[in-house]
Amino acid sequence: MSLKALPDDVARFLSAHIDSVEQLEVLLLLHRAGESAWTPEMVAAALYTQPASAARRLASLWDHGLLEQVGDEPPAYRYVVETPARGELISTLADTYRERRVAVVTAIATNPMENVRAFSDAFRIRRKES
């Protein structure tokens, strides 16, 4: 299955915001959940992952503007739609992931922008954790 199977905007969204399948699953989980807020523990229970890992994914998605933070102690997040177009895109992404899982997973794993991102990361002087 070629990467061309994915719609352009979906591929671009994945390239810009999603660096792992787990992150995508977290995003889609909160997308399905609508208005309710989730803590890392809740996410970890739902997806059978570690809370620490879930926390990292939630924070990263928040940093990308895909979630909003609704609590501080413990940190809770909720899916938020910045623009209607973005909301539609994520719905499309959810459908695409359901119907063409292999293509999506492959796109995430073999990010064509990886070299380009490496260029940008080269200018990061301070080491970022993880």
Binding site: R12, S15, A16, H17, G34, E35, S60, D63, H64, G65, E68, V80, V81, E82, T83, P84, G87, M113, V116, R117, F119, S120, D121, F123, R124, I125, R126, K128
Partner: protein, 109 residues
């Protein structure tokens, strides 16, 4: 400055080549910005285009040596932009593919 005709021709050719090179490199950076939404690339695109513009102006406008510094102001701005892009990348919570946020978010009613 006493240069042979051949040298002058070669320099003119080089100028054209360099302007084109900066233009195309800038276009690549612009594309990377489109694809990754990483601000660094947008800034690099503009910076490279400024460098190209400086070369272009230098080639087309006959300028006295003392006034050359004005053109290099363009180059300065270009390099300052690059510096700013690097500084910006290293600011708190550096994250690849940052999207502009911190503006009012629409709530799904």
């Amino acid at each position: 400055m006493n240069r042979s005709a051949a040298m002058v021709q070669f320099l003119q050719f080089s100028s054209g080549f360099i302007v084109m090179g900066y233009l195309v490199a800038g276009l690549f950076f612009l594309r990377f910005w489109r694809d990754t939404r990483d601000r660094l690339f947008a800034v690099f695109a503009v910076a490279f285009w400024l460098l190209g513009l400086q070369r272009l102006l230098l080639a087309l406008i006959d300028v006295e040596a003392e006034h050359e510094a004005l053109f290099y102001l363009l180059r300065l701005v270009g390099f300052l932009l690059i510096i700013w892009a690097v500084v910006d990348k290293n600011r708190v919570r550096a994250n690849a593919g940052r999207v502009v946020r911190r503006r009012a978010k629409l709530r799904v009613s």
